[in-house]
């Protein structure tokens, strides 16, 4: 019974990291795509746009890191 619970935890870790990577990936790419557009249209604000892009991506990344942490917890501490 214990091993079935652990098996569920391992399957859960895979699903968690897989689906958890979907959102941040799409979100960060959208930010970067729009940043390319912004820099092309107003090149004088390039550094401001790059900074905003990186801050936005860092925030989007957080849920990806939560998934990573939960997946590692499921693998190593169950």
């Amino acid at each position: 019974m214990e091993q079935i619970a652990r098996a569920a935890a391992l399957l859960g870790a895979g699903i968690c990291m897989g689906i958890g990577a979907l959102g941040p990936g799409v979100g960060e790419g959208f930010v970067a795509g729009k940043a390319c557009e912004g820099i092309a249209r107003s090149p004088e604000n390039a550094s401001l746009i790059t900074r905003t892009m990186l801050v936005g991506q860092a925030v989007s990344e957080s849920t990806g890191i939560y998934s990573l942490v939960i997946a590692l917890l499921l693998i190593f501490s169950t």
Partner: protein, 250 residues
């Protein structure tokens, strides 16, 4: 319950079907998107016909990559001779998981590469003189987007060839544990590359479009594209790490 040749065949055939079926879906949509934009650009700039067709064909070839990987894995699953019952349930789970990994893992890169190619055709239609700059940037972007399908191919091949056979004295619990770990690894890399693949394609597509409109800003657009694509790729790398841990560290 012991494993027979038939059970391994069932797992292989299921894996092969899942892999090619799902991978073809996004490659088809992506290539159609590129061809549609090429036809539209043809209407706007009939004189740019040759460069449009060249760019479209190159783009479609790169977009096809994920589907070709899936086809290779499917052929290996069907004809690779993974039917030795000594492999046991471990091997059955690994075969099914290999198909899921490469099939689902090719979805995002297929959409992304197709978007990038479509935007490149649109941009060439608007600015035929920038043909080389746009096609070059399109190829860089598509190569970055395809990284996800390459990760999926690597995990899939490792599942096929580097997973252990089931030991004769394995208990039911151990079997369930290992099968769940293999399936989890395949799902992690498969679903995990969907987002980053599609997103990097979006970045490359926007960059292509903007290089067509503002050719002078090319250097800073490409710099931002690389930076943004690298950050987007990070979650695919987390998925790869989790997949390796599940396959080899359990």
């Amino acid at each position: 319950m012991t494993v027979t040749t038939e059970i391994l065949q069932i797992a292989s055939y299921l894996g092969a079907g899942i892999s090619v079926g799902i991978a073809s879906l996004s490659a088809g949509i992506g290539e159609g998107y590129t061809a549609g934009h090429t036809a539209h650009s043809f209407m706007r700039q009939p004189k740019a016909g040759d460069s449009l067709v060249n760019s479209m064909l190159v783009s479609q070839a790169v977009t096809e990559t994920g589907a070709i990987f899936a086809l290779v894995i499917a052929l290996l699953l069907i004809f690779g001779g993974f039917t030795d019952p000594a492999g046991g349930w471990f091997k059955a789970a690994a075969l099914l998981s290999a198909g899921i990994a490469v099939g689902v893992g090719s979805v995002g890169p297929g959409f992304g590469s197709g978007y990038s190619g479509g935007q490149a055709s649109k941009a060439i239609g608007r600015m035929p003189k920038q043909n080389n700059a746009i096609t070059g940037n399109m190829l860089i972007g598509q190569a970055l987007a395809q990284a996800g399908s390459i990760f999926a191919l690597v995990v899939s091949l490792l599942l096929l060839y580097s997973t252990p056979n089931q030991p004769a004295n394995a208990t039911l619990g151990e079997v369930i544990l290992k099968c769940a770990a293999f399936l989890g690894g395949g799902l992690a890399i498969g679903i995990g590359t969907m987002g980053p693949g599609a997103a990097i394609g979006f970045v490359a597509g926007r960059a292509n479009d903007m290089i067509g409109r503002f050719p002078k800003e090319r250097a800073s657009i490409i710099k931002t594209m690389f930076l943004g694509a690298a950050v987007s790729e990070s979650t695919a790398i987390y998925s790869l790490v989790i997949a390796f841990l599940l396959i080899f560290a359990i």
